[in-house]
């Protein structure tokens, strides 16, 4: 299946992608700003995400929370999300409501600051602190997604620090920070706009020009601190965390080639052979046969700069210790060198990836998000159409070479959660 793709740039630098598909009267608007927690300055961990919250607090012509209300009144769904290296905002609306979605996005890209107040910042700061409590502090294993990058990247690296941020840094964020972050990163030349679904091409182009065309180009953003790291960890570091959990859980991670590179596709297939669904090696061996794990999966983190990570995530079966779990997982990894990955195993994985991709692309919102992703990282939205063939082109030899090169003892970190042993537990 090929998605239609038309890309062009406005004079202010905004990269636009249009993808028409009139099979349902639904249209998705999707904006990626090429900024994430990696861009935060020292002492402001969590700010990119807090800033995402502020984008729903109104802009010059839009009241606080009115963005949500107007899109929901229009019969649409919407949200935003923040990641290490990007922030996205998206709406899916009935196709006759395209204009309001574009207008709302343009108003906040062009004129956010007049609506910012100390009270709004204070409220969203508390909301985000509650988000942190909910998703990290009061959730078993909830700290894994800040501990793992901290273990995987050196302290000076842009991916090292917490995305959700520390309570202290959240407390320190000011309105000045909001203004400065907005001017530096929320510029048309640092953004990608995608429209996917049912729309009229000429009408969409005219609306985009009308709403976004006059937003001034911003200065080029400051460069990130150096992203380069050694392609391997050059050792095996581990961290053991006592937590309010009942079963031990292991995250075993390897450095691997960045998202979109040739090596990435071998890494992605290797992860899927190991831990995608119940037919994968780890599931069959550890859950079904040996019953040392109650759950296991493996996946790539899909980072496009510095280094990607291939992560194995395994939770112990009751009665199995963290050490036994780790031994069992590493035995299976070592086994990849003896019982090499076969063409049949790759066929299973590619067939699953094909069905998943087709299923995902049924939704206008998902299509728009994928197009924005490739436009943001590679300047080429049409790369979405070559993903499947790149997976199909990967050979068993390439995946086995990846195993040789990246899955050895010299390229690992282990993050191990164990039940708290204090008497109070």
């Amino acid at each position: 299946m090929q998605i239609s793709v038309e890309s062009y740039r406005l004079a202010n630098g905004l990269l636009v992608t249009l993808s028409e598909d009139k099979s349902a009267p639904v249209v998705a608007v999707n904006l990626w700003y090429h900024v994430g927690s990696a861009n935060e300055r020292d002492g402001r961990t969590g700010f990119a995400h807090l800033f995402e919250h502020m984008l729903f607090q109104g802009s010059e012509h839009v009241g606080a929370n009115e963005h949500f209300e107007l899109i929901q009144r229009a019969g649409g769904t919407l949200n935003g999300s923040t990641w290490l290296d990007r922030t996205n905002y998206f709406e899916t609306v009935p196709s006759n409501q395209l204009a309001i979605a574009l207008w709302l996005e343009a108003d906040r890209m062009g004129r956010l600051l007049p609506a910012m107040t100390q009270q709004k910042l204070d409220t969203q700061r508390d909301v985000v602190k509650n988000e942190r409590r909910w998703s990290v502090d009061n959730q078993p294993y909830g700290t894994w997604w800040e501990r793992l990058p901290a273990l995987a990247f050196p302290p000076s690296h842009p991916f090292h620090h917490s995305l959700i941020g520390s309570m202290e840094d959240l407390s320190d964020a000011s309105l000045d920070d909001v203004a400065q972050f907005f001017r530096t990163y929320y510029t048309p030349n640092n953004a990608v706009l995608t429209i996917a679904g049912d729309f009229d091409r000429d009408e969409a182009r005219a609306l985009i020009q009308e709403y976004f065309g006059a937003i001034p180009r911003g200065e080029d953003k400051p460069p990130l601190r150096p992203m380069e790291v050694s392609p391997r960890f050059d050792g095996w570091r581990r961290e053991v965390v006592e937590d309010d959990v009942v079963l031990p859980r292991l995250f075993l991670a390897f450095r691997s080639p960045v998202f979109g590179s040739d090596g990435y596709f071998s890494a992605s297939i290797c992860a899927a052979v190991l831990g995608m669904r119940k037919g994968s090696r780890l599931y069959r061996a550890l859950v079904r046969e040996r019953q040392v794990a109650s759950e296991v999966s493996a996946f790539t983190f899909d980072l496009s700069k510095g280094s990607d990570l291939l992560i194995v995530d395994a939770t112990a079966h009751p009665g199995i210790s963290a050490a036994e779990l780790e031994t069992a997982v590493t035995e299976e990894i070592a086994g990849l060198r003896i019982r090499k990955i076969s063409t049949e195993e790759i066929e299973r994985v590619v067939a699953l990836i094909e069905t998943d991709l087709l299923s995902t692309l049924q939704s206008a919102g998902e299509r728009a998000d994928k197009l924005s992703q490739f436009a943001t990282y590679f300047g080429d939205a049409a790369m979405v159409n070559t993903q499947l063939s790149r997976y199909r082109d990967v050979t068993a030899d390439e995946v086995n070479s990846f195993v040789q090169e990246f899955l050895g003892d010299d390229n690992r970190i282990s993050l191990v959660y164990v039940p708290r042993t204090t008497a109070a537990a």
């Binding site: 079963l247 067939a351 087709l358």
Partner: protein, 452 residues
Amino acid sequence: MTAVRPTPGVPRKYTFPTVERTTLSNGLRIAVARMPRLPLVTVLALVDAGSSYDSAGREGAAALTALALGEGTAKLSGGELVEQFERLGTGFDSGIDWDDAVAQLTVTTERLGAALEMLGEVLTAPAFRPADLERLKSERLAELLQLQAEPRGLANEKFSELLYAPKSRYAKSSAGDRGSVSAITVSDVGAFHRAHYTPSSTTLIFAGDVTMELAVQLAERAFGGWSGLTVAPAIVNDDIAQSGRFGHIVHKADAPQSELRVGHRGVKRNHSDYFPIVVMNALLGGLFSSRINLNLRERNAFTYGASSGFDWRRGAGPFVVATAVKTEVTGPAIREILFEVERMREETMQPDELTLATDYLTGVFPIRYETTRAVAAAIATATVYGLGDDYYTLYRERVRAVTAADVRSAAQHHLHPESMLVVAVGDAASIRESLEALDIGVIQVHGTEGGS
């Protein structure tokens, strides 16, 4: 660049895919919704074999039976079965709800025939090998252990347990508790399968790039030889433990948040007030811009989010407001929830508040049904509750017909502030006093262990 808000254009017509139905000679029903856009089909086998059929002391048997379908057939071991499905590019999923069991897969059109043949084997000739069942039981027990440390799941379980009478199936988790799951034997699962998985209790739903002709041909091949008796419908006991206001704390030492569930028994899915209730709930706590979320999150910053919902079942499932709030504001947050529920009954809403809900529910309708999986699930719901095949055609009309008076009447009849169950999973030492000040009775404190 303009300060003027654009107005909507003329909506393009949307129609939910037409549902065609037929029945095979053995009683198996078939429903087909054609969505020819992509070479993809979802097949969903809907079986009248949900948790409501569990017998006392064997709660979880329905769930275990549905899960065990994927663990091997007379011809194939579990590992081989999974391998074959996945080589077709499809993961086989099975599970239960209160009112049905579902076994489904999504596959490209060219692999549909092979996948359906395997689906037929899975449903009609599962092996239920003792070792596989033991493993599934131990995985469920592991899940129950994990729940003790997981405030969200724990709050849900405790709320149901405290709301319903011990004899009601709804008092226990649909997948069963430690005692009941441990007691289930291989012969219980075999017997459950024989009694409930029969052609006449099953509807095979196809959504996607497929015709009725092809669906019937493939279904005949995979399911034509299947036979079994007709099943008497489940009798659902939805009695509550007691009416009145009650407060409970599930103690989790030093918890930085309290996970809250506040509510009471709701109404049956087939209640004639369904649409007014759906609109009323959207405004109360269903939408981001609902009263409860705006109050607790945007006005008070007590939480990352708060919502309310009616859990729709054949019997009366719970109505519950759910949120997680900073420990220090637990009492005030519950007070605000009770206030918003009360206010919903007392004030007739303004026209623009009503249209927020009705415009959202009608507008979002086509967005909900972009995928074959979503359409198959929608047809399953209509089938389980006998809503009729014009249900989705008429849905938006029926939402639009709801008036402010209907909403107020729905609130007065179906929200019961005088009979609220409050469950807080949090640090008892820090929150007990603030709950005691709320007029929700004597606060009882529990440990985090699951049921016996």
